[in-house]
Each structure stands twice: as C-alpha cells, then as structure tokens.
C-alpha cells in the first residue's frame, strides 16, 4: 500500500514522459489522476493509522534489498509514521490541487504533457523522500526532487535565464547533497548502518563530536534544499519556473524537506546541542534575511520567495529548538503549505490575467477585476501575517512561544528576532497586497502594444485557490483545538514544555501588536501614497535587499570567478605542463634522433669505419679481459 503511494505518480510520470505525442490531449488529466490516486491512497492509509493507538501508528514495508555489499545493506523499504503521514497528506493534497490548477494555467503551453510528467515525477520523488526508512533511500528522493525541481525551473528552456536558474538550483542543491552524503558516510562508519532505526538506536553510544558532525552535515543538506543561509541563493532565481511549480515545489513541499530532515533526525540533534545551536542560528539569520529581501522585491514571485525563505527560517529555528519546537515546526510547515501555495496560486492567477507581468509596480487596483483571486489571496495574506484565529496565528505564535521557552538570554533573543520577523512579515505582505490589489491601475501596454486585460481565471484555477484559502483559514484552528496536532505527532518527535518567562497569551498579544505595526507601516508607505511605477533609487539597505543582500555578488566573486580562473588555469596547465612535458620528451627524442641520424650518412665507408672501430674495441676488450 505504501509502495502504491509512490508508484502511482511514478507510473504517471513514466507514461507521460515516454508516451509521446499520442498522450498530448489527455496527458494533463492523466497526471491529475495519478496525483489524485496518490491522495486517495494517502487518505486510506490515514484512516488506517487513525484507527491505531498513538504508539503503534507506524507501518513498515520492505520491498527489496537494494545494494548489498558486505556490511553495507541498503534496502528499499518504507516507513509510514505520523510525521511521514503528515507530509504525505500535505504533498498529495496540495499536489493534487496544484495539478488541477495547472490544467488551466498551462493550457496554452504546447509542452503541457511534459509539464505534468515532471510534476508527477516530483510527487513520486517527494513521497519517496518522506517515506524512506533509511537515509540512503531518503537521499534518492532528495536528489529526485532536486531533479524534478531542475526540470521544472528550467521548463521554459528557451529562456536562457530559466536554464541558468535551473542549473544554479541544482548545483547549489548538490552542495547540500554533499552534506547529506557525508552524513550518511559518517553514520555508516559509526553505526554500520544508516536506517533510521539503527542510527537512532545507536545514538546513545556515539561520541558527541561524531553526532555534531552528522548533525552539521545534515544541516548543510537541509540548508541546500530549504534555501537557508548560506545556500539560499537559488530560491529567488527558481521563480523563473511556471508559477504552479513555485507554489508546489518552492513554497509548499520541496523546500520544507530540510525541516523534515532535521525533525526526522531529531534524535541525533537532541544529542548534539552544538549542532542544534547552529540550526537555530541558521534559522534566525534566514528568517530575517528572507524578510528583508521580501520587503524590497518588486517582482511579486520573488517577494513571495523571500517570504518563503523567511517562513522556513521560522520552521528551521523551531526544529533547532528540539522537542520544544519540532511539533510546531511541522505545524507551521503544514499551514504554511496551505497559505503560501494559495498566495503563489493567486500570484499565478494575477500573472495569468496580466500577460505574465510580474512587476507589482505595474499592477494596482486589481481587486475589482479579479474578485475571487483577491478574496483567496487576501485570506492567505491574513493567515501568513498571523491574523488572530487564522492558521498562521496558531502555528507562528507557538514557534515564538517555543523560542521564549528556550529560556535565559537566548530565549529573549530568539523571541525578539521572531517578533521582528513577524513585523517584517506583516510589512512585506501588506506591501504586496496593497501594490497588487489596491490603489490605481498602473499597467501599460507592453512592447508589442498589447494592453493587458485583467480578468478572473477559469474555474480549474480558482477552485484550488478557494480550497487552499479554506485551508489557510481553518487549518490552524482545526489543529489547535484540543491540541490534536500535538498529540498526533508527539509519539514521533517528542514534546517538551520549556520554562517560558512569558505566557502564551502574552506572546499572542505581542505578536498581534507587532503584526499591526507592520501592517500600519506598509499602509503608510504604500496605501496612503501613490506607488511609483518605476522603483525609486532607495537607500543602501533597499538596494542591497533588491540584490538579495549581495549574495549573488558574493558567490560570483568567491566561487564563480575563482572557479573560472582555476579552470582556465588548469586547462592551460594540462596543455602546457602535463601534455607539454610528454610532448617535450617526444620532441627531445626527435631532436636527438635527428642528430644521430647524421651518422647514418649512407656512405658504405663510414659504416666500415664504425665496423672496424667496433672490431678494434672488441679485440681490445678481449685482450683486457685476458690481462685482468
């Protein structure tokens, strides 16, 4: 049954990618069906799990032995527990909605069949990632989603920027993958195995240094996949992909795989406090980084990408808090999955109506033209900024509370940072909202002279948006009432109640206040005044934030340029030194032969001289030998 979860989209992908043109007309429905089938399986399994006791809610399925070499035993085996189940449900439900949305969004693309093939491939890989019962199989899914992400970011390959962005995403992710590889290698040398069960069982006996090493390597992997500092640079560029991709992969599911990894490896991290500290630091830095970048971007998708980064920063931070935060990291992950997907789909709907314009300064006043989009986007907006009793309110406040609960100065620092982040979130989201849907219209004909005619998107697109909006609104409440979510996940992740200097209520009030501050600030800047169609020069921080805080410039100088010089130098050396040495030897021999050849002048008498000389030498040698 668990295998079927993965098999359905995999089969769909294979069919769509190998099927050829014959499937062009039904391809998208086929892809949707595969995804929906997966969702159905997931729901069946879910009810199955719900029927069991909390501690026994774990299914195993061993398919076959994958790579057996001596002690190295890698199996293809699945494990479905509450954590996996949560992810599976999120992935299949959001995935299916986005499949549906894409039917409309990609309607005019001649390569729609392939697009659905890639989407299915992604689903399969993502499900494999969360269902694997060992790190190596997880790694397969891990790289699989990377591949799908690569293919989908670069889906419009004729655009060089898309191709470059795709390559960048893959390569940066690969850097993270090195971390995962090394972590698995370390696990193998330490525990002789890399299945979750064995590793977690062996943690007690391992030295803290080793565990810290494993933890840091896992964190590196998580940073790559979840676009955390310092491997965050690819996410902004990844917005080159079609919008449903951004919604599914780069907002709701794949980028949260890092959080999954850290949570899944909680046992390891709990035993390595140093690694946890680093996780928290990374989360906190990214949280602010993403928020600042999100405040400055005019490209609606890139602004949302900054927001995604920031929100995942929250989750990472929460995951770094250990049992204090695991549950809430996952909870925020799920709610974020809903509202961020909703936001992206809304952005896609806006772009769909605006001739693929992404610059928010060219929008304005769209609420009249796209009422449904406005409504769903608005609800998701309220959810993300933590409007009371919407989903973001519950999940984010819990994380902020967990931060305070860490205790001591650290607790205050983390709480403060997260509150600042909440204010920034409110600010940039309000800014997006105002620039897009409020104010006067600012759109102009494009170069070809086409005046955009903003219109509401078709039903296949708005229905998913509506469902997600419902999710954004209700998820938090549903999860929080009676602590359902906490109880559900607790057996896997554990739960701790720290010693918080502030109460729950106080945190909620503080969060609401900073949220209102952020909204107010944005309203003053963008709601009261006319938004200029061309971005003003801005101050130093704004300009830096527009350039993603100079991360690409840094990467360019530090890696790309040095790499180029190194490569060119090595090519030169390979030709001149390594090859040159060999060719030089050959040339030296050639020259020597040329000299020696002159002795061979063709005159018989010369040869005769050498013969006689030789004879004389032989006679001399004989005589000498006798004399001695």
């Amino acid at each position: 049954m668990i295998g079927l979860l993965v098999a359905a989209p995999l089969l769909g992908a294979a069919l769509l990618l190998l099927g050829g043109r014959r499937l062009d007309r039904v391809g998208h429905w086929l892809g949707l069906a595969a995804s929906a089938a997966s969702l159905v399986f997931a729901l069946v399994l879910f009810t199955d799990l719900l029927g069991k006791d909390g501690e026994e809610r774990s299914l195993h399925q061993h398919l076959f032995s994958w790579v057996p070499v001596a002690d190295f035993r890698a199996d293809v085996a699945f494990q479905l527990d509450q954590l996996s189940m949560t992810f599976v449900l999120l992935i299949t439900s959001v995935g299916t909605l986005i499949h549906l949305y894409s039917v409309g969004y990609m309607e005019h693309d001649e390569r729609r069949r392939r697009f659905f093939g890639y989407l299915n491939l992604f689903l399969a890989a993502m499900l494999l990632l969360v269902l694997a019962d060992n790190y190596l199989l997880l790694y397969v899914g891990w790289e699989g989603v990377g591949l799908a992400s690569y293919l989908l970011i670069g889906f419009w390959q004729h655009k060089p920027s898309a191709a470059t962005a795709a390559k960048k995403a893959f390569v940066v992710n690969r850097v993270g993958d090195v971390g995962l590889s090394l972590a698995i290698l370390l696990m193998f040398t330490t525990f002789g195995s890399f299945s979750f069960t064995h590793v977690f069982a062996g943690v007690d006996g391992a030295s803290e240094a080793t565990l810290t090493g494993i933890g840091l390597m896992l964190l590196l992997a998580a940073c790559g996949k979840s676009a955390q500092v310092p491997l965050q640079s690819w996410l902004g560029d990844a917005m080159e992909g079609p919008t449903p991709v951004s919604a599914l992969i780069h907002a709701a599911t794949m980028v949260t795989a890092g959080v999954y990894l850290v949570t899944r490896s909680g046992v390891v991290f709990d035993a390595a406090p140093d690694a946890q500290t680093v996780v928290i630091t990374v989360g906190a830095v990214t949280l602010l980084f993403g928020a600042i970048v999100g405040c400055a971007k005019d490209d609606i998708k890139k602004a949302l990408a900054g927001s995604t980064m920031s929100q995942i920063g929250y989750m990472m931070l929460a995951a770094g808090l250990g049992p204090l935060g695991y549950v809430f990291a996952i909870m925020h992950l799920v709610t974020h999955g809903f509202f961020k997907a909703g936001l992206f789909l809304g952005a896609g709907s806006v772009m769909h109506g605006m001739n693929d314009e992404v610059d928010m300064r060219r929008y304005g006043g769209l609420r009249k033209h796209m009422p449904i989009t406005f409504a769903t986007f608005g609800l998701a907006y309220l959810a993300i900024i933590g409007f009371p009793y919407l989903s973001g309110f519950f999940s984010k406040d819990e994380i902020i509370y967990a931060g305070f609960a860490k205790g001591g100065n650290e607790g205050w620092l983390l709480g403060g940072v997260m509150l600042l982040g909440a204010a920034l979130t409110a600010y940039y989201m309000t800014r997006i909202m105002l620039m897009t849907f409020f104010g006067e219209k600012r759109w102009q004909p494009d170069e070809a002279g086409h005046e955009p005619h903003p219109h509401e998107s078709p039903l296949v697109m708005t229905v998913p948006m509506l469902i997600l909006a419902v999710g954004s609104v209700a998820a938090g409440f549903v999860f929080d009432s009676g602590e359902r979510f906490v109880k559900w996940l607790e057996p896997v992740t554990g739960l701790a109640h720290g010693d918080s200097p502030v109460s729950h209520g106080e945190v909620s009030i503080a969060a609401t206040v900073v949220m209102l501050l952020g909204v107010g600030g944005a309203y003053l800047q963008y709601g009261r005044r006319e938004v200029p169609a061309v971005a003003p020069a801005g101050r130093l921080l704004t300009r830096a934030a527009r350039r993603d805080l100079l991360q690409d410039d840094f990467n360019h100088v530090a890696f790309v340029q040095t790499g180029n010089y190194l490569t060119r130098g090595l090519v030169y050396l390979d030709h001149k030194l390594v090859d040159g040495m060999v060719n030089g030897t050959a040339a030296a021999f050639g020259g020597l032969s040329g000299r020696l050849r002159r002795v061979q002048n063709g005159f018989a008498r010369s040869y005769a001289v050498s013969m006689f000389g030789g004879t004389a030498l032989l006679v001399a040698a004989t005589l000498l030998m006798r004399a001695v």
Binding site: F64, S65, W66, V67, P68, V69, A70, D71, F72, V76, L136, V140, W142, E143, G144, L147, Y150, G154, Q157, H158, K159, P160, A162, A163, T164, A166, K167, F170, V171, R174, V175, D177, V178, S181, L182, I184, L185, F188, T189, T190, F191, G192, S193, T197, H198, V199, A201, G202, G205, A206, T210, G563, T567, R568, L570, V571, D574, V578, D579, V582
Partner: protein
Amino acid sequence: MSFPLLTATAAVPAIGAVATAAVPAARRTGAKWLALAFSLVTVGFAAAVLLRFDTGSGADRFQLTESHSWIEDFGVRYELGVDGIGATMIALTAVLVPFLIGAGWNDADPVEGEPQATRRWRPTQGFFALILMVEAMVVLSFAATDVFLFYLFFEAMLIPMYFLIGGFGDRAGEQGEEGQARQRSYAAVKFLLYNLVGGLVMLAAVIGLYAQTADQLDAGTFSLQAILEARASGDLDFSTGVERWLFLGFFFAFAIKAPLWPLHTWLPNAMGEATAPVAVLITAIVDKVGTFAMLRFCLGLFPEASDWATPVILVLSLVSILYGALVALGQRDMKRLIAYASISHFGFIVLGVFAMTSQGQGGATLYMINHGIATAALLLVAGFLIARRGSRLIGDYGGVQKTAPVLAGTFLVGGLATLSLPGTGPFVSEFLVLVGTFSRHQAVGIIACTGIVLAALYVLVLYQRTMTGPVRAGLEKLPDLRVRELAVVTPLIGLLLFLGVYPKPLTEIVNPAVEHTLSDVHQTDPEPQIDVSEVEAAE
C-alpha cells in the same frame, strides 16, 4: 572436458572480425549486419558465462577455467578463468559492442566522391572487423589467468585500437579535412606510444615475476592461480624491494591505461578525434582493462606493495577526480569534455580499488560497469548530435531541446547518469566507493565528495549550453533521433535505470570475488564504532 565457454566467447567476435573483413566491398550493408549478428551471438555467450557462474558460498574463486600448455619452456600456459569481476566485465563488453556497432552503423561508410573510393576500398568492413577484434582481445584479457597471456592481449588490443583511432575520425573538426587527419594521426600515435611505454614497463615486471618464480619454485610459471597459491603457502616470498618494483611495473601500465593523472593526456586526444563509438570503446571497455587489472594483478600478486603504495595512489586518484572535473569544465569540445569527465570517474574507480574495503572494491567494479554504460549513452548521443551539425564545439550549439526534444532528453538522462543521480546505476557505485573510502580514509572521502558538485556543474553546463536557450542559427531543422539511434540509446538508458534500482544481481556475482581480493591483501573491513546488532535482533 567441458565446453570451453570463455574461449568461445572470445572466438565468436574474432571469427566475426575475419568474416566481416572478408565481405566484398559492394556488400557494405551485409558486412554491418554480419558484424551485428556476431556481436549479438557474443552477448549470448557472455550471458551463458554469467548464468553458469556459481555464486554459492563454496564456489571456486576462478570458474569456467581452461588450461592448456602453450610455451612449455617458459611455463606459459593458455589459462582462462573468471571470478565475479571478470565475468561481469566480460558481460559489459559483450553488451556494449552491439550498441557501438549500431551507433557507428554509417560512421565508416566511404564518403561519396572520395578519391580512394575504388573497387577494393572497404573501410566499413575494416571498421566493424576492428571493433570485433578489439572485443575478442578485451574478453581474453578479462578472462586470462596467466600473466603472460594477459600481457599478450593487453598489448595486442592496441593494434586494432590504433587503426580505429587513426583511420576513422568523425568528419567534424575545426581545422578542415587535412588538419583533422593530422590531429587524428597525432592522437592515434599518442595513444599507441603511451600504452606501449606502459606495456614495456609491464613486460619488464612480467619477466621479473617469472624470474622470481623460477628462482623460488620448482619451475617458473606465469599462472596467477599457481602464484597466488604459492604466495599463500609461503613457497613464494618476494623481498620488499622486489615486490615494490614489480608492483610499480604493473601499476604503471595500468595507470596509463586507466588513465590516472598525470598519465591521462592521451585520452582526451584519442576520444576527441575518434568517432563516438570508438571513443566509447576506448573509455568504456578498453580502459576498464586497466582498472580491472589493478584489482586482479596489482592487489592479488603484490599485497604488501599495494599497501605501501596506497597513500600515493589515493592522492593521485583524488587529483584525477578533481582535476578531471575542473578541466572538463573548461573544455570547448564536447567529446574532450566527456573525456575529462571520464578521467574524473576513473579517479573514483581507482580510489575504490585502493580503498581496500569490500564496499570500495565492489563499488569500483560496479562503477566500471555503470560508467561504461553511462558514458556510452552520453557519448553516443553526443555523437549523433555531432554527426548532425558537423561540429564538436559546444559553442556551435544551443536550443537543440526545441528542435530535437528526444535527442535532448536522452542526452540529459545520459548526463544525469554521468553525474551519478540516484536512481541511475552510477549513483550506487559512486556511493559505494565513497563509503568504502570514507570508512578507511575519512579525509580522502570528504575531498572526493566534492567531486559530486563538480560533476553536476560540468554536465549541466554542457546541457545548458547545447540544449537550452534560443535555437542557434543552422539548427532550426535539426532532425530528432532516428529509429536506429533510438534503438541504440533506449536499451542503454533502460540498463542504467535498472542497475540504479536493482543492482543486486551484479553485486551478488561481484561480492565473492571482492572478498577473495581483500583476503589477498590481508585486509578486512573496518568495524563500525557502535554495534547496533542487538537492535536488529530485537526487531
């Protein structure tokens, strides 16, 4: 006496070579089909070798043995036999050759109006006959358990390879017909000289080995089994110095063949100038004899010296991995890029061999097979592309994905396999090598891991520059893969995916051989720091 299966496996392509060469000039197509038929029969025999190979726990190390006296005075025997590694390598060779023949179907046809196109001009026949000849010799080298016999075929395969490189280039160069011919003969001569030098050094070591056996045993022998037994029983005991010198002699030849940095520069030239199938033949099959021989001869015959040389060799293979990848990044020529990528991969293989762990060596063996198939897929598709445009320069392409999506797709899959994406065969082997290396030499393993990133870079940069972006002028009408080409590429990709998902059949055959090799070098796998077996028991 049982049926001499190994001899037959080598004899079929050899007979095929003669038969193909004898086909009259006008029957060109017939010659192609004949060569294909013989190569397919070889696949059958190779399959029989795999099937007859006993992987049970009590099975002999060398199986399907044949032994006949040949040159009695020097104890040279015609001795064949395979362990699991040899059997799989023979299978790889046999499986790849039909694809190469299919891919090079029209590569050697005489050009219309070429002046030599006389009645007796038969390049096509020669091309396929030479390929089959190489196949026969490679199979024999994988099967030979007599050191002298191995040496013989190790060297003899240079001759047909020389003609394949020098005689049949692809008609796509930057310097015109004549410059191309000059480049080609340069590459062929370079290939020959490099390998001959290696072979010469090895010959000295072979003779030295014989002298040692003649000194210490009743009679001199070249037989691997006899020497291994004598070494195990202590009858044959090399002094430290002698063993090291002999080891170096053997290793030098194999390092050139493999090719290991800094002895690698012949490979880019040879692969760049040869046609794509021949380039595959070089890197996927012939070069594997080098790494295979490291496993079988270097480690088996000279365990102490292998141990002594390991640090240096590990460093060299690390340099190969990183250097190959970095230089690949800087290439303008597609085939040279793939050649440098191969150098990087050979670094991994040698790393695995000398990691002295069962994961490392098992991984290295799998790596040889997977690299063979992956490179074949990538390079053959690149060859199809080059044949269409008539240029090897990356800069001449762009946007192929738009006009020839299937070609681009297969190219991408080949590339992804080359960068060891999980789910494809190379991932399994690369990871095994890394595990094997890391469990004994942590630092080396960590550095080797960075090769993963570089591999992604050069493959994706290549793909991006050739396949994506706006369609370049002159490529608007680029035809997509034809049926023949698809028939060549699809099974290769299928194999790659199958081996990535279910490599167990191979590992089962390879594992016992690796155990034997490890016991030859008196090594055991390092134990994990923490025993988690009780967890297993509890389950």
